[in-house]
C-alpha cells in the first residue's frame, strides 16, 4: 500500500516536471524538424560552401515585417521580394526607425514559411540575433545575409521570411 502511494505520488511529481520539460522538447523537436517555421541560428559562411549550384533554379524569397503594438517603431523591408538561386549568398536590408522621443531597445524574432523550407534557409548575418537599441528618432538599415540551401525541396518556389520586432523591457 505504502509502495503504491509513494510510486503514484512520485509519478505525479514527475509529470509536473514533464510539463516544464516539454518546453525544451518542443523547441528541439521544432528545430530538428523545422516545424513552426523555426530555422537554425546563425551559420558560418563556409558551412554552406561546396554546394552544387543549379544556375537555372529560381526561388522567390519574400520579406515580411511587423511590429508589436508596444514598440513605437517603424520597421519594414527595403525590398519586398528577391529572386534567388539556391546555394548563392544574397544580401538585403530592413529599415527601422524609432518614432518615439526615447531610446528603445528591441529584438526581432523570425520565422520562415512554408515550414518545410525553414530548415534550408540559412542566415550568416542577421540583426535578429542581437538586441537593437535605437536612439530617439534614429533611423537604421539592418542587414541580412542569407543563403538558401540547394537541398531545398524542388516544389518550393516561394518562401517567406517574416520578422516581428518586440520591445525588450529594460
Amino acid at each position: 500500500m505504502k509502495k503504491t502511494v509513494l510510486k503514484t505520488a512520485l509519478f505525479a511529481v514527475l509529470m509536473f516536471g514533464f510539463a516544464f520539460a516539454l518546453i525544451p522538447l518542443y523547441d528541439t523537436f521544432c528545430e530538428i524538424t523545422g516545424l513552426n517555421g523555426k530555422t537554425s541560428g546563425q551559420v558560418e559562411a563556409d558551412l554552406v560552401k561546396n554546394q552544387v549550384i543549379d544556375e537555372n533554379r529560381k526561388v522567390i524569397v519574400q520579406f515580411d515585417s511587423s511590429v508589436n503594438s508596444e514598440l513605437n517603431w517603424e520597421f519594414r523591408p527595403t525590398e519586398f521580394e528577391m529572386e534567388v538561386i539556391p546555394g548563392k549568398f544574397y544580401h538585403t536590408e530592413f529599415y527601422a526607425k524609432n518614432l518615439s522621443n526615447k531610446d528603445i531597445t528591441g529584438q526581432a524574432t523570425y520565422s520562415v514559411t512554408p515550414a518545410k523550407a525553414s530548415l534550408y534557409f540559412n542566415k550568416t548575418e542577421c540583426f535578429c540575433f542581437t538586441k537593437q537599441t535605437l536612439k530617439a528618432h534614429e533611423e537604421v538599415k539592418m542587414p541580412v545575409t542569407f543563403i538558401v540551401d540547394t537541398k531545398l525541396a524542388n516544389d518550393v518556389k516561394i518562401m517567406t521570411l517574416s520578422y516581428t520586432f518586440f520591445k525588450l523591457e529594460s
Binding site: M1, T4, V5, T8, A9, F11, A12, V13, L14, M15, F16, G17, F18, A19, F20, L22, I23, Y26, T33, L35, N36, N68, Q107, T109, P114, A115, K116, T164, F166, K167, L168, E169
Partner: protein, 539 residues
Amino acid sequence: MSHAETHSHDHDHDHKPKGFVKRWLMTTNHKDIGTLYLIFSLTMFIFGGALAMIIRLELFQPGLQFVQPEFFNQLTTMHALIMVFGAVMPAFVGFANWMIPIMIGAPDMALPRMNNWSFWILPFAFTMLASTFFMDGGAPAAGWTLYPPLVLQGGHNLAFAVFAIHMLGISSIMGAINVIATIMNMRAPNMGYLKMPLFVWTWLITAFLLIAVMPVFAGAVTMLLTDHYFGTSFFNAAGGGDPVLFQHIFWFFGHPEVYIMILPSFGIISEIIPTFARKPLFGYVSMVYATAGIAFLSFIVWAHHMFSVGMPLGGELFFMYATFLISIPTGVKVFNWVSTMWKGSMTFETPMLWSIAFIILFTIGGFSGLMLAIAPADFQYHDTYFVVAHFHYVLVTGAVFAIIGGVYYWIPKWTGNMYSERLGKIHFWWSVISVNVLFFPQHFLGLAGMPRRIPDYSVQFANWNMWSSIGGFAFGLAQIFFCIIVWRTIKGKGTSKATDRVWEGAKGLEWFIPSPAPHHTFQDGAPVNDEHLAHVSSH
C-alpha cells in the same frame, strides 16, 4: 450470505459520529465523503447551469439585451471551468468513494484521512474561483482553455484562477492516488483484477490518467502565472517564447481530461445495462482492453484541437489518423452495450432509460467528433457552434446523463428509499427532449458558420438560437426538478423502502448489503463468491 454475517455485528450500524462537524467536516468515512462529493457536484451543476442560462438568455435574440460582451466572455469561461472541475469530475469521485470500496469488498478507501482532505479543498478552491466575479475586471474571460496572450491581458483574476486550479489539481491527484491504492491493495480475496466490476476498472484507468495529466495542467498554468507576474517568457514571443507552446501543453492535459470525464461514465453504463437487460455484460474483457486502449490513445491525439494553428501536413495527418483510431475501442464499447441488450429480458426503469439515451446520444457526439477529426474539414468547423454542439453531446448527454442514470441506479442503496419511478420517468423524458432541442440546432448553427463564444450574432442565426435557448431553459428547469426528486428520495417522501437487492437483475457486491448501506461495510472482510459478481464469465 456473507452480508448477513458481516452486518449482524453491532459495531456496523450505529457508530456514526455525532454532531454536524464531526459527522461531515471531520469525516473519514468513504460513504459520507462520497455523499459530500455528490452534493457538492450537484450544487456546482446548478451554479454552472445558472451561468449557462444567462448565456442562453443573451443568445435568445441577436443584439445585446442583457449582458455586455466582457461579462459574456466571463460567463462562458466560468461555466466551462465550473462544469468540468466542479460538477462532472467531483460527481465521479463521489461515485468512486461510495461504490468502489463496496464493489471490491473493502471496508473503506485506502487513505481515509487524505480522502477527507481531497474533498474539503474543493469548496475553498471554488469559492476562490467564483470570487473573481466580484473583482475589478471580473472573472477570467479567455475561455476555459486559458490561451495566452489573451488570458495574460486580463486582470488579477488570473492569479486566483491559477491557484484555484492548483488546489483542484491537488485534490484530484490525491483522490486518484487514493483510488489506485484502494483498488490495487484492498480487494477482497477472490476479487481478481478481471473479476472487478467494470466501474472499478474504468476508475482505475481514469485515476492513472489523472495523475499523469493534472500535474501537467498545473505546470502550464504556473507558467501563465510567472509570465504574468514574474517576467518570464514561456509564451511571450518577445522573450523568445511561443504562445502555441501553451496550446500543446494544455491539450496534452486537455485531451486525456475529456476521457477522465467519460471513462467513469462508461463504467456506470456498463453496470446499469446488464442489470436491466438481465444478462451479463457482453465482452467484459474486451471492455477492459477498450478502456485501456482509449486511455493510451488519449495521449497521442492532442493536436487535433489545434489543427488550424499552422501545423505541417505531417502533423495534421498524424493527429487526424490517431484520432480516427479512437473510434475503434469506442465502437467496441458501444457494440458491447448493444449486444448486452440483444435478446435480453429488458425492462425500462429510469436508470435504464438514461443509459439507453446515453448510448444513442453519446454516439451522436462521437460521430460529430469524427467529423471534427478530419483535418481539412476542421478548418471550417473550428471554433464554431458545431464544436459546441459536439462537446455538449459527449459531456451533457454523455457524462451528465451517465451520472444522473447512476444516481437513480444507486440512490436506493444510498438512502434506503426507492425514488418515485413516475417522477424519474417525467424527469427523463423532459430532459431528453429538451436537451436535443438545446444542442441539436447548434450543429446547424456551426455548419452555417456561427462562431462560438460570442454574445451577438448575425440575424440569419436567430431562429435556431431561439430554439436552442428554449431547449436550454427547459433542460435547466428539468434539473431543478431532479433536485426535488433527489430531496424527496432522501427524505422518503412519496417513496417506498428499497429492498437490499433493489433491482431484480442486479449483480455485484453492493446488492448483498442492506439498503441503506450501513455506515461501515465489510469491516471483517468480504468473502466473495462468483455468484456475487456481475461479470464472471460462467453464467
